[in-house]
């Protein structure tokens, strides 16, 4: 080892979008493939990002490969723009993509990266939603071998997954899958739609916005293209059900901040031990509150 060696300190500057251009191009090629085969898990050479695997490195690579200087980015985690991980990712994009605007308002964003939620506000054809994915394969619960899962996907053989649902109904009278609900895209591939709640699954169906899903650690990209079928896997005679936010009397619980009765709620326990509820989508909640106060003033 050379004792006189000096670190090239000027090397610390990063190119736009952190990744080298070859890497970004490859990711974009895989995105195109994923859109062309709706729901198919396209393998790609996921790069190491400067945050942990599992913290959204898959989503981030999609975002960084797609983003340009004229884009407006919104990053949310658990529905909130201000959660630690969302802040972290947004700061990183700001650091490595000079010129990119960031926003908290869903309608202003051209690109939305999210973990575990789809914004409450209806997305448009002008927007791309990037979802971070820890487990890309819905079949992993019934088949550990990736090679065998690939064959099952190819043949659209999801009987073992349905058997799991069958066993659920037998044992609990209910399908117990809470989030990551297996969803069939365009009538063939079943995807793991990332850990979004069941509440968000119907919003994948015929979505005007392109939805891209990126798994960094598992090195897969898949897509729900605009206006594509996205159907949760169920039996003909057992309906798919989203989360139930009714109280003991069957009344729909309202957000304690904006009073909304149509949004996905976070359950909170305050210091006194009382359970209260609040919109999980913080931007939506704030906008509702603003509308209400504007109405009051008027």
């Amino acid at each position: 080892m050379n004792a006189n060696y000096e670190l090239p300190l000027e090397d610390a500057g990063y190119s736009f979008g952190f990744l080298d251009e070859y890497a970004k191009k490859e990711v974009r090629r895989c995105i195109l493939k994923a859109i062309s085969i709706p729901g198919y898990q396209t393998p790609y050479a996921s790069r190491e990002m400067p945050m942990g695997r599992g913290f959204g490195t898959g989503g981030l690579q999609l975002t960084l490969s797609l983003i340009g200087e004229d884009d407006t980015l919104k990053v949310i985690d658990q529905g909130s723009d201000d959660s630690v991980n969302a802040v972290n990712l947004r700061q990183f994009v700001q650091l490595t993509c000079p010129g990119v605007e960031v926003t908290e308002k869903t309608q202003e964003a051209t690109l939305i990266q999210s973990r575990h939620r789809i914004p409450e506000k209806q997305l448009t054809e002008q927007q791309i939603l990037v979802l971070q994915v820890p487990y890309p394969d819905a079949l992993v619960v019934v088949e550990p071998s990736e090679a065998r899962r690939k064959v099952m996907h190819g043949e659209a053989d999801y009987s073992r997954l349905l058997v799991k649902l069958y066993e659920d109904v037998v044992r609990f009278d209910e399908i117990t899958i809470s989030h990551r609900y297996p969803t069939r895209i365009n009538g063939h591939y079943v995807i793991d739609p990332s850990p979004i709640p069941r509440w968000d699954v119907p919003r994948l169906h015929q979505s005007p916005a392109l939805v891209l899903l990126g798994a960094g650690r598992e090195k897969k990209i898949y897509a729900v293209p605009p206006y594509t079928l996205a159907e949760p896997l169920v039996f003909d005679d057992i309906a798919f059900r989203v989360e139930d936010f009714r109280d003991a009397n069957g009344k729909r619980i309202a957000c304690r901040c904006c009073g909304s009765t149509v949004s996905f709620l976070d359950e909170l326990i305050d210091d006194a031990g009382n359970v209260t509820h609040q919109c999980s989508d913080s931007a939506y909640c704030e906008e509702e509150q603003e509308t209400i106060s504007a109405r009051k003033q008027a």
């Binding site: 080892m1 004792a3 670190l7 990063y14 190119s15 952190f18 990744l19 080298d20 251009e21 890497a23 490859e26 393998p43 790609y44 050479a45 996921s46 790069r47 190491e48 990002m49 400067p50 942990g52 695997r53 599992g54 913290f55 658990q78 529905g79 909130s80 201000d82 959660s83 630690v84 991980n85 969302a86 802040v87 972290n88 700061q91 575990h116 820890p134 071998s145 990736e146 090679a147 609990f172 009278d173 209910e174 809470s178 989030h179 990551r180 709640p197 650690r217 090195k219 897969k220 989360e243 139930d244 996905f264 976070d266 359950e267 909170l268 305050d270 210091d271 609040q278 999980s280 913080s282």
Partner: protein
């Protein structure tokens, strides 16, 4: 703290970063660690980081170790992320490890091997007794160690390089001849692993693997969840000249050298094909830096995986998917850490399912009792 379910993220992150920095500099010392200290005196630690980071840059490895306060997983991770920003400029040709300038070289298969056994620096036969005088080492005495070693060691003509032990086994027909390589080596930084994968992909993945993870997999095979029963034909540690084509003339020239540990194990023969004579089988391991346990583990797993690829895995260590998807330190530590992130939404959804199920069960019970 009252409810701040999800607000205040930016402040929290900034605070966490300064708290970590505070812990790095607090304490009784005035002097920060120098990179040279880490690189030179913690050379085996640096070795781990260059190998698991998949980037041969000992000085940056030392920096990463300093920055992440000795966490090898984090340090290797930082090297990988740094590497993600760099384009791949060219592909080197195959480097011949026979050209290695060895600092250590042993074979446990033969008492004597062509070129001789060179024990070199190893703790293998050291008594693991704490050397308490190192606790307050006098700088002068410290300097004297190296000096006296050099003074007392007779100047012998060490050969520039050593013949490979397995070449003699090959010459005797105890190992199969080198199969001509058909395809370019698989680059795991450019292509995802889609199973089945070629052997070169498995070797590259293991060369970057986390040492402990790789050792655990290999150990399972050694203990009985497998039957490789290896003999170390040769283990060598040394500096390998890296030959790259000249950008203009295309002629190979030495661009530098990397410290490498290489291990070749020989395992028992298996059934043969047709009229060919049976031969031993070979397992290969190599990694950046000086890390013998990793090179041996890799060599054993290489043999186990070749068997699994050929006959189908009968043990976890023979299953390419099982081994290759679970030995990467960056992947596995990242995912273990991610469980610390908020999971409010999914947990809300979990509670919804549990409550509904409980209600249904209670309903059923009350219907049954009435």
């Amino acid at each position: 703290m009252s409810y701040v379910a999800i607000k205040g993220g930016k402040a929290a992150i900034d605070g966490a970063a300064s708290a970590s920095e505070y812990l790095r500099s607090k304490g009784s010392l005035d002097e920060p660690l120098t990179l040279a200290m880490i690189e030179e005196q913690l050379r085996l630690l640096t070795s781990r980081v260059v190998s698991e980071g998949g980037l041969y840059h000992p000085r940056l490895a030392a920096l990463a170790l300093k920055q992440f306060q000795g966490d090898t997983l984090e340090a290797a991770f930082a090297l990988r992320a740094y590497r993600s920003t760099k384009p791949r400029l060219l592909e080197s040709p195959v480097q011949d490890t026979a050209n290695m300038r060895c600092i250590r070289r042993i074979s446990s298969a033969f008492k004597e091997v062509p070129g001789g056994q060179y024990l070199g620096a190893t703790y293998d036969y050291a008594l693991r007794l704490l050397q308490l005088d190192l606790a307050n080492e006098d700088p002068a005495a410290f300097k004297a160690v190296a000096k006296s070693f050099l003074r007392d060691t007779p100047e012998t003509e060490l050969p520039d390089n050593f013949p490979k032990v397995i070449d003699s086994l090959r010459a005797e027909g105890l190992l199969p001849p080198v199969a001509p390589s058909r395809a370019a080596a698989f680059d795991i930084t450019r292509d995802p692993l889609v199973f089945p994968v070629p052997r070169s992909a498995a070797l590259a993945t293991m060369a970057r693997a986390e040492t402990g993870g790789l050792l655990a997999m290999a150990y399972s095979n050694m203990r009985g969840y497998g039957d490789v029963h290896p003999t170390v034909a040769e283990l060598r540690v040394g500096y390998l000249p890296v030959m790259l084509p000249h950008p203009v003339t295309g002629e190979l020239m030495e661009a530098g050298e990397v410290l490498v540990t290489e291990c070749e194990v020989v395992a028992m023969y298996e059934g043969t094909n047709g009229d060919e004579l049976p031969t031993f089988t070979l397992g290969y391991g190599a990694c950046f830096g000086h890390n013998e346990v990793k090179a041996i583990s890799m060599a054993i797993l290489d043999r186990a995986l070749q068997k699994g690829m050929q006959d189908g895995p009968t043990n976890p260590s023979e299953d390419p998917e099982f081994v290759l998807l679970h030995v990467d330190g960056v992947d596995s530590m990242g995912f273990a850490s991610h469980y610390k992130m908020p999971h409010y939404v999914t947990f809300q959804s979990d509670m919804d399912r549990l409550r509904t199920t409980q209600q249904k069960m209670q309903q059923k019970e009350s219907e049954a009792t009435t």
